[in-house]
Amino acid sequence: MSIELPTTVPLQAYLALAAVLFCTGVWGLINSRNAVRVLMSIELMLNAVNINLMAFSSYLDGQLIRGQVFAIFVITVAAAEAAVGLAILLSLYRNRETVDMERFNLLRW
């Protein structure tokens, strides 16, 4: 009994890769102490979602490619999110003189 290797890349391979990327991003989002690294983890998660959208668009919706249009919108929103997030980070750093996530506890209680 031998496992036959696929000759083309299956859809599930893209989905598995996106799952790896998304879970790495979630772990980094929870565990990073540095606020810049938290933003980078969010970018990783958005990229995982984009990989999913592009894979579905290519494999299941080859004629209308609505997934590619959605991916473009996600890229747009991600750019806006990065700009605003880094501006918030800068003003936080100016006020608290630190980028440690554990010390941004102003609204906690």
Partner: protein, 199 residues
């Protein structure tokens, strides 16, 4: 663009290895500058995956927006806030890492199960390949016109918001009346407004 299927498979394996290892490096490396450059590598590898999926326009947009804008922005932010600080130990950090690792592994297993047990409607329609850019343009100016315009408004709002949030100077005179602004307020704006919580 049609590549031979075996070459496609090899490209996919290499690119996905770069993506997965690069993402782990982004999250785990102690030096944040290395993380930022690895993040650029991950973005480039994802653009390569888009090329494998016959989406040249989105691949170009990925390189332009992510590598050219977002990654450079992150590098600038690192330069602006790059103070070597020793982060104080907090109790239960290892336990928290283990617990969140378990949660992420569970999420990963769930996603894999969904991906491999769902009966996808394969094979779908034949991909249009190089026509994709034309089709995206048609979509953006017909049935996705409203989201397209809203996205431009969102970008404008984000730009103005980022400028307002990140600007340092305070008006020396009141904008509405033209009178000199409160000097005490200006002085206070030069010192940290939020005092450190002591608990």
């Amino acid at each position: 663009m049609t590549i031979a299927s075996s070459a496609q498979l090899i490209c996919f394996v290499v690119l996905s290895a770069v993506v997965a290892l690069g993402a782990l490096g982004v999250v785990l490396l102690p030096n944040i500058v290395y993380s930022a450059f690895l993040l650029g590598g991950v973005f480039l590898a994802v653009a390569g995956l888009y090329l494998l999926l016959n989406a040249s326009f989105v691949a170009a947009a990925q390189v332009l927006v992510y590598v050219g804008a977002v990654n450079v922005l992150i590098l600038f932010a690192i330069m602006l806030v790059n103070k070597q600080e020793t982060m104080a130990d907090i109790p239960g950090l290892r336990l928290r890492r283990l617990l969140s690792g378990g949660v992420c592994a569970g999420l990963f297993a769930l996603l894999l199960r969904v991906a491999f047990t769902t009966p996808w409607a394969l094979p779908g329609p034949v991909p249009i390949g190089e026509e994709a850019t034309i089709r995206i343009g048609e979509h953006l100016f017909s049935d996705y016109l409203l989201p397209f315009e809203l996205a431009s408004v969102l970008l404008l709002m984000a730009m103005i918001g980022a400028i307002v949030l990140a600007r340092r100077d305070v008006f020396s005179s009141d904008v509405a009346t033209g009178e000199p602004a409160d000097q005490g307020l200006i002085e206070k704006s030069r010192t940290p407004l939020l005092l450190e919580k002591t608990n």
